[in-house]
Symmetry: C2
Subunit: 283 residues, 2 copies
């Protein structure tokens, strides 16, 4: 489909995207852009990229440019790339926040060459070593402000994500950030906070080692996630995250009140209400 | 090893235990005791038990009696069983709390026939249908107050759990409950509360359906757990659970303060500290 794909950032998402496009035969040659020589070399060694180039050359050579770096770095990087891009190229980002970026690019003369996407897939690992084959399948991919992008460009990107097994969902950027706060960002904050809770209180660390089971692991797994990736997401989506976080603290206080007052009836009620999440998870 | 195993309660844990002992050839005949005819029939249909009997007959006929019912029902049930038991029988419970039960039985004339255990395995499902083959493997099993149980009885029970692939950990009952609050009970509370948060705030339920990914699923999975099983656990381990819950709320407030004050440095620090949980999870 393409000759050259340039990935900006050589990590979990961009690396897995490059592998997927190579595996599907959608791209012949992958160029990587990274801040560090070490990551470039790692990405070359792992076969995520065929070549490492400085940004300007990498953009010039590319048919498709795929940007997946921390969201605070995405905004200036994207402005730089958009200033270089031609009518024959497509630029895609994969960031977990969309409002700030879309607002920053809304009046750019090349706006139509940009497709704003958020493939809702990831793991708690990061860096080139975290990239895997067969990523993305079975998950949603949000495309924001579709109407501001060139229709043919959107169709190409949709076809790629669909070929990877993703289900396309359309949303405006502001709405995306609201939903992402509920569905993803708050889960990460509770996991980070839960890890800190246990590490703080459980001084006998051996006991955690020995006893930690599946439930514990599943609720704190996300606490292994990269601060460099997630701190900028929380900060850029601050108002929405704060809103959900406040609600979550108030929900936890309800459990606290039940226990303090030994109110078994209300405790049951809270838990039975929570069980309704089965509708979402067991679909 | 035994002729007759009686399971009191025919659900996730007791059913999986019965299947495991049958699979290993440790027991010839399994008798089930249940509060409801429907569960008895289900357990018979699923092959978890060979026979359903009223409590008294079931205890009389058993070599080993395995009790896995909600922890508030366990205390009176156990007292009833211990009053019937002979020097040739062994009684084991599998409850998630240990202090209240061990205190209740500590002066029972047959105390030495009782082995207090907590196999740290489970899923978010409950009832006879939730029982599975090959459960328990790779997890810890806590045995409490080993010294109060007959040494030969303890050895038999240890050998059974070890044969199922479990790692035996010894603890006094009070310590067990402290650790269980950190390692298991708080994970369940945060999951229940997170489910309520999302269900409360996210009125567009379709958005959850479409967007919910792996991270969300892993943090709210435990919210599907049975209130009948978990409410009594939280209540019986109230002081410890409240202690951890207060710490968790205060950890969440630190994230809130970082966001409110846009304190990126402290946010990083909190997340980097949370990353230390890798030591526990990636062992």
């Amino acid at each position: 489909m393409f000759n050259n794909l340039t990935i900006v950032g050589v990590g979990l998402i961009s690396g897995s995207f490059a592998l997927a496009l190579k595996d599907k035969g959608f791209v012949k040659h992958v160029i990587g852009v990274s801040r560090t020589k070490a990551s470039e070399q790692k990405a070359l060694d792992l076969g995520l990229i065929d070549e490492a180039l400085p940004l300007e050359e990498a953009v010039k050579k590319a048919d498709l440019i795929y940007v997946a770096i921390p969201v605070d770095a995405t905004v200036p990087m994207m402005q730089k790339i958009m200033d270089m891009v031609t009518e024959k190229q497509i630029v895609v980002d994969a960031g977990s926040t969309k409002a700030v970026l879309c607002a920053a690019l809304k009046d750019h003369p090349m706006r139509s060459r940009f497709v704003a996407t958020h493939p809702m897939w990831g793991t708690e690992y990061s860096g080139p070593e975290a990239a895997v084959h067969n990523a993305f399948a079975g998950r949603a991919c949000v495309i924001c402000e579709k109407e501001k992008s060139d229709a043919a460009a959107v169709e190409i990107i949709e076809n790629i994500y669909r070929a990877l097994g993703m289900n396309i969902v359309y949303m405006d950027a502001v709405n995306h950030d609201v939903h992402a706060a509920y569905i993803s960002h708050i889960s990460h904050i509770t996991s980070f906070a839960l890890a800190n809770t246990v590490l703080e209180k459980e001084k006998e660390e051996d006991a955690i080692f020995e006893l930690a089971g599946g439930g514990f692991e599943s609720t704190v797994r996300l606490a292994k996630s990269s601060p460099a990736m997630w701190a900028p997401i929380f900060m850029q989506n601050r108002d929405n995250v704060l809103d959900v976080l406040n609600e979550h603290i108030s929900q936890l206080r309800k459990f606290k009140a039940c226990l303090e007052k030994e109110n078994m009836e209300y405790l049951y009620e809270l838990m039975e209400n929570a069980n309704k999440i089965r509708r979402v998870l067991d679909r």
